[in-house]
Assembly symmetry: C2
Homo-oligomer: 155 residues x 2
């Protein structure tokens, strides 16, 4: 099965390089981005502004080679790619939850952006607490890992 | 830009038809599914079992024609496709959060499945409360909508 997709827009962010880019939006709530939805998709944004948070699905278009097991930014132990959000993954789909601050036509102004500038956008979905808050969820291997700044040059 | 993807596995569920399929996993927490990850991707599952919940990204491979604005199952008013999780959307990417009950090699046993049987799997990501719980999030247009059962024959 060969699946084909096309970008529905492009994400503009302050981050031109991987070294500048935060690893998760919650650690950079003040990072502002602009999500440009191509005009032919603009009608699909109707009522998006009723949500405070949205999921962005996008393409990790500058990710390196896939490694199924690798050390992560947060931890010195190796973990499987599906037990992490690392960009170097099959199908290269990235996901971020951002705060929707404003809509200006086909532009969504968002805070907590953690993606590279010019990232191709694949989809937008509303974040809906009654569906998406998993109150019983555990933190998995992340539980005992303290956040630490990203070392320069490490993907 | 032409983006190409390949399934990394297939989702087995009790739901052969859209009429049987729940609209969100939280409304069918007892629905058990089996996520089969193709053997060439199995190494990437290392440590997935440390998480209680995971995101499944998959292809809505039996969705109908895209409608940018349409009435939703939950509501009689029309909303934009990006303000909803409806399957009939550009790029046809679906997302579900499920509870991971067990791992048996390349098979993940999950509860709260809400996808059709034989759905092509695109990615798995861990659900991490410290990154994914948006405590200040609002419910958007869903806020005043009561859950109601899906009418038969309605997609």
């Amino acid at each position: 099965m060969d699946i084909r997709m096309q970008p529905i827009g492009v994400i503009h962010s302050p981050f031109a390089t991987k070294d500048e880019c935060p690893i998760q939006g919650v650690y950079s709530p003040e990072s502002r981005g602009r999500v440009e939805v191509f005009s032919e998709h603009e009608a699909g944004l109707q009522d998006i502004e009723t949500f405070s948070h949205i999921y962005l699905l996008y393409l990790f278009d500058r990710a390196g080679k896939i490694e199924y097991v690798r050390k992560k930014l947060l931890d010195d132990a190796a973990h499987g790619i599906y037990a992490s959000r690392h960009p170097c993954r099959p199908n290269s789909i990235g996901m971020s939850i951002v705060e929707l601050k404003a809509r200006q036509g086909n532009i969504l102004v968002v805070d907590g952006i953690d993606v590279l500038d010019q990232t191709p956008l694949l989809d937008i979905k509303p974040y809906i607490p009654r569906h998406d808050h998993m109150n019983s969820a555990c933190e998995g291997w992340i539980a005992n890992v303290e956040f630490r700044p990203k070392p320069p040059g490490r993907e």
